[in-house]
Structures are given as C-alpha cells and as structure tokens.
C-alpha cells in the first residue's frame, strides 16, 4: 500500500455560533469563539490519498479550484454557503472538505483529511464515524 500525503494552507475567519441560538447560549457553548466579529486561523490541510499518483490526478488544481478558492481568505459563516447554517467548527470544515473532494479525486482514493487549526488543535476525518 502506498499513500501520499499532500499539504496545503489557507486562512479563514469564522464565528462559532448557531444562528438559531441566542448570543448567551452561543457564548456558553463556544466561549470566546462565539465572538460575532469573527476570528481567524491559518489552517493547515493534509490530504492522504491512495491508489493514484500526482501523474494520474491533477490534485493541486482540484484542491485549488474546489477547496482553497472556496475557503481561503473568507469569513466562512457569511461567504461559504455550506456554513450559512452549519457551524464552521474544525470538525465540520474537515467533513465539508472530505465531501467536496471525495468524488472529484477519483481514481485516487481520499482516505484521510487532517485539518490543523492551531499548533495545539487538530482534527482528522476518514469518511465515517466511529461506532460507540
């Protein structure tokens, strides 16, 4: 099995708050991340792929067109339709990137999306949820 891991970076602002909750409830659940003015991160994105090489799939062009152009230098809640109602937590952004790229990368198989939000926090998504 050969896997390749390709890394990208983008910067985006977000507000962790549900539009259908009060400000007080959003602050209780999301803390300072609920600040309505938004705050930003330099996100590091790592895509793990199997089954094809960069020669088979124009990976950078696909990621640029479908992910980076959509997310880079945006206020996610306001400028990205997927996050109009869905709170742009790292978990939800990783899942969105997975859903956006999975079919587009065939015949390469996307097996992991790792999203590093800060040097202390990151998430990884493999396309399904663990059974509890």
């Amino acid at each position: 099995m050969i896997r390749s891991i390709r890394r990208y970076e983008f910067s985006a602002a977000h507000v962790l708050a549900r539009p259908d909750w009060s400000d007080a409830r959003n602050r209780a659940v999301y803390g300072k991340c609920a600040n309505p003015s938004g705050h930003g991160h330099n996100y590091r994105l790592e895509l793990t792929l199997e089954g094809a090489s960069g020669a088979d799939v124009p990976l950078d062009a696909i990621v640029e067109k479908r992910v980076l152009r959509e997310l880079d230098a945006r206020l996610l809640n306001r400028e990205v339709p997927a996050f109009a109602r869905l709170v742009p937590t790292a978990e939800n952004i990783a899942r969105h990137i997975w859903d956006t790229l999975f079919d587009a990368l065939a015949p390469a198989r996307l097996v992991g999306v790792r999203l590093v939000e800060t040097s202390n926090n990151s998430v990884e998504y493999f396309g399904s949820e663990p059974q509890r």
């Binding site: 869905l86 709170v87 937590t89 998430v123 990884e124 949820e129 509890r132």
Partner: protein, 116 residues
C-alpha cells in the same frame, strides 16, 4: 472523527540506571468520537483542555516523577511506563471510550504511543 490537543510540560525523573533526566515532554491527546449534530464538535475543547491540565499538567509539570508524585515509589519511571500512566489517568477522567491514543515525546527523537 479524531480530535487532537497538544500540551507541553517539563518534568524530571531518575531512570532505572539512576541517571536524572529532565525533558520538555510533548503530549498529544487524541479522542475518537462522533461529531455532535447540534454543536458540530466531538468534545468542547475547553473541557478537554481542563482535563489535560488537571490530570497531567497539575500533577507533573515542574515536578520530579520519582519524588513529587505517588506513581513511581516502587518502580523507576521510563518513557513507556510514564506514557502508559498518562493514558490511564486521561482514560479514567474522560467520558468512557472517548480516548483513542496518546503520543508522548520526551525529546524530538523519541515518541511513545499508547492506544486502545
């Protein structure tokens, strides 16, 4: 979904040969769980941070594992033994089954991984 939070702390220990070692330990704690449909989070990172500070930082930061903690009275600490203890302390403090693995690095050259 896996979610990972990092913590650094400083602690010393006397290894089985009697040598005293001090390190900036780097700890990565990874949880595995479903994303809560309401909040969009696996766990509130504040809660995870609090558990890591209480269970690990408060017990071990700027301490000697041998002299300042009750865990290594009858055996000398090793990175492997310490990592197993860190996993056990966090596993007990976190909601059942949520802890997926820890990685504990005493130096850049060595990482111990403990998982289920």
């Amino acid at each position: 979904m896996l979610i990972t939070r990092r913590l650094e702390f400083s602690a010393s220990y006397r290894d089985p040969s009697g040598a005293t070692r001090g390190h900036n330990w780097e700890l990565e704690v990874t949880l595995s769980g479903p994303v809560d449909a309401e909040t969009g989070m696996v766990i509130d990172l504040k809660d995870l941070k609090e558990v890591m500070e209480r269970e690990i930082e408060a017990r071990f930061d700027h301490r000697s594992l041998n002299d300042d903690t009750p865990f290594f009275r009858d055996r000398a600490p090793t990175p492997e033994g310490f990592a197993a203890l860190v996993f056990e302390l966090l596993d007990k403090a976190l909601p059942s089954g949520l802890l997926h693995r820890i990685r504990l690095s005493p130096t850049r050259e060595l990482t111990i991984e403990v998982g289920r």
